[in-house]
């Protein structure tokens, strides 16, 4: 695992990374974790919507849509 830590909102399409941490505490963070975004989990960005719309990612065989500002709560590392 490299130390290169980025935000989920900043990675490229089709890039496979690993969740490093979820920043802060709140309903959004809890929902994300309940959906399986726990640290150490591989996550792959599938698509980014136009005009800064939600990003579509694949985690634990499931597809999720996350608003870009909410994806900034998720730190990932490659």
């Amino acid at each position: 695992m490299s130390n290169h830590i980025r935000l989920l909102s900043d990675i490229h399409s089709d890039e496979q990374v690993e969740i490093y941490s979820i920043e802060g505490e709140g309903p959004t963070q809890h929902r994300v974790i309940e959906m399986g975004c726990t640290p150490g989990t591989p996550i792959r960005l599938i698509q980014k919507q136009a005009f800064g719309g939600p990003i579509i990612a694949m985690i634990r065989d499931a597809k999720i849509a996350i608003r870009k500002s909410d994806a900034q709560l998720i730190k990932v590392c490659s």
């Binding site: 136009a50 719309g53 849509a65």
Partner: protein
């Protein structure tokens, strides 16, 4: 002899096939009941198939619950699903406090994230039966689950189910009946907040379990539905597909429902003719034909349109597309303080505001939910359609059908714009500002819709629409008939009220007859068309009949009633005005009090009135 009541609760994440399973278990015969203290509904039905193990021993009720992500409820829907676990007796006093059997319904292709929910139930002291659906999809992908091993690892019964051919239902019933032998357990230890470290451990456990039992989708395998998403969720193509699907949806509603609506119309015209020829002339005849039959006809004529919209939305939902639509419109909705979660309620609002407001329960943020409910009455609901249809005909006469379609599209777009402006204004108020949870949504697997299930769902929703709004429309129609017929048709109550209220309608350029029709349409706006028909003494009930008589209608001084400026003003009025008593009643329930619905109603009527006057007066300057 009364049998002992036993309850089975179906619990699980969204889109796992809970409702399909529920329909199989109850043979699609169920009723929806409000969970006490809330407006959230649970579907309850008697178990239709008796297990061979315990024939007729119990009276078994199956309860379907809204989808959950975890045992912490944030939206109204989730909260109720979770309280069903601990407070089943609240629904019906004859039930035991806890469900006698909990069936956790999971999607076989999504076990890697959904099995964590099983672990949460175990932590809470609940031993569910695990029903794993979509067996067919798994098989299609050439994968299988080692059922025996999974059973051993989980320590509870595990049943694989195929909702398309009912495979596994019998096994499920057998397991459930053994559950009944166990006396209802004591108190469950429900979590009160998300325990992040525990969840991480649970997911670790799921990971190791998955590698043991063998379901692991290999990344090399290209799956049909994942491929389709590269188009459906494509940044540019996706928007075109979305636009195409929405256009097709609304086009289909109009073109498919119209013949049926005409059919209903002619059926009632025939009934009136029949009544008039068999019932001797007099008061009984007029009550029957002008009152009862006309009113019932007016309330039933919208049913095809509403049913089609329910059906098509059902198809989109069942295919998994609606969640994608929500993701696609999240960005524009974020500009007006909403999220993609408001998409489905707003879309349903184009059929009927009542189920749309109910659909808003899945929105976790209270402020966003209230704002969504607030703007739902601005959607072009099916009751507005015939009114606009009539206006368009009056303006265009027979000039061009394409122009009519263009005008209707314009009305839709203008309505969306007004709704957007209102939603934007609402963000200034504290009540609508709770935006604690962002937009994170699971996208269900794309699949062929199960038509039978969609039909059943459509049937129940349509039935609810008829029983909900139908009586109001009927009562108003009868009242109108009475008012316009007594003391006599030349000096009726309706005329007196209309002329008395004339100063109100005059700035809109509206004649007293139209004023009365507007007044009556406050009970339900679809009343407007039939009210005009009754007031202008139109004999034929068909649209063309109404149209011809109305286009020639003149005021007492001989001027035409429906000039272009008048009609434009009326279109604006009907676009904004809140004219539906059943919607108001539902809004009161969903918004938790009278305050917001009253503010909503008054401001929409006021805005509609002012804008209609402006539209009329301005277009007078340019068009007259």
């Amino acid at each position: 002899m009364s049998l002992k009541q036993k309850t089975i609760l179906l619990l699980g994440p969204q889109n796992t096939g809970k409702t399909s399973l529920f329909n199989h278990l109850t043979n699609s015969r169920f009723q929806t009941v409000n969970y006490p203290g809330s407006t959230v509904e649970c579907a309850i039905g008697s178990l239709s198939k008796k297990s061979t193990e315990s024939p007729q021993k119990y009276n078994i009720q199956v309860i379907d619950s809204p989808g959950i992500t975890s045992l912490i409820g944030r939206s109204e829907d989730e909260k109720i699903a979770i309280s069903c676990l601990t407070n089943m007796s609240k629904i019906n006093k004859t039930y035991d406090k806890n469900p006698n059997s909990v069936v956790l319904v999971l999607d076989s292709t999504q076990l890697a994230c959904q099995l964590a929910l099983f672990k949460q139930l175990i932590h809470a002291g609940i031993r569910p039966i695990v029903a794993i659906t979509m067996k067919d999809v798994l098989q299609k992908r050439g994968l299988s689950i080692n059922e025996q091993l999974l059973k051993k690892e989980l320590g509870v019964p595990v049943i694989l189910i195929n909702n398309r051919n009912k495979d596994g239902i019998d096994d499920l019933l057998t397991s459930v009946s053994t559950d009944f032998a166990i006396p209802s357990s004591s108190t469950f230890n429900m979590p009160t907040s998300t325990n992040v470290s525990q969840l991480s451990l649970d997911f670790k456990w799921v990971e190791s379990l998955i590698s043991k039992i063998g379901v692991k989708s290999t990344s090399s395998e290209k799956k049909y539905s994942w491929d389709l998403d590269t188009i459906l969720l494509h940044p540019i193509l996706g928007l075109f597909v979305f636009g195409g699907i929405m256009t097709t949806l609304f086009w289909a509603i109009f073109s498919l429902a119209t013949p049926l609506m005409d059919g209903i119309d002619s059926m009632f015209t025939w009934l009136i003719t029949l009544t008039n020829s068999y019932v001797p002339e007099g008061i009984i005849q007029t009550i029957l034909s002008d009152g009862v039959i006309t009113s019932i006809g007016a309330s039933l004529i919208f049913v095809p349109q509403v049913a089609f919209l329910f059906f098509l939305i059902g198809l989109l939902e069942s295919s998994g597309y609606l969640a994608r639509g929500a993701a696609l419109v999240d960005k524009p909705l974020s500009k007006i303080g909403l999220t993609g979660r408001s998409f489905v309620p707003l879309l349903s609002g184009n059929a009927c505001a009542i189920p749309a407001m109910t659909a808003a329960r899945s929105i976790p943020n209270k402020g966003e939910r209230l704002a969504t409910i607030f703007i739902i009455p601005l959607m072009v609901c099916s009751a507005r359609l015939p009114v606009f249809g009539l206006f368009i005909l009056l303006v265009l006469s027979d000039k061009s059908k394409a122009l009519g379609g263009l005008m209707l599209t314009g009305i839709y777009l203008l309505s969306l714009l007004i709704a957007a402006v209102v939603a934007r204004l609402l963000t200034k108020f504290k009540t609508f500002q709770d935006k604690s949870e962002g937009f994170v949504m699971a996208l269900p697997r794309l699949s062929m819709p199960i038509f039978k299930q969609v039909f059943i769902q459509t049937f129940y929703q349509t039935k609810k629409f008829i029983t909900g709004a139908g009586p109001t429309i009927f009562v108003v129609g009868m009242g109108l008939w009475f008012m316009s017929s007594f003391p006599n048709s030349d000096h009726s109550f309706a005329k007196m009220i209309g002329q008395w209220m004339d100063p109100i309608w005059a700035p809109m350029g509206v004649d007293w007859q139209v004023g009365v029709a507007i007044l009556l349409s406050f009970a339900a706006r679809e009343v407007f068309v039939s009210a005009l028909a009754i007031i202008f003494a139109v004999q034929q009930e068909s649209q063309s009949g109404i149209f011809h008589s109305l286009s020639q209608a003149v005021t007492s001084d001989g001027a035409p009633v429906f000039t272009l400026p008048v009609v434009l003003g009326l279109i604006i009025f009907f676009m904004i005005s809140m004219q539906c008593l059943p919607t108001l009643a539902v809004a009161k329930k969903e918004m938790g009090g009278w305050k917001l619905p009253v503010i909503m109603t008054i401001s929409y009527i006021g805005l509609a009135y002012v804008l209609a006057i402006i539209t009329y007066q301005v277009s007078l300057l340019f068009l007259a």
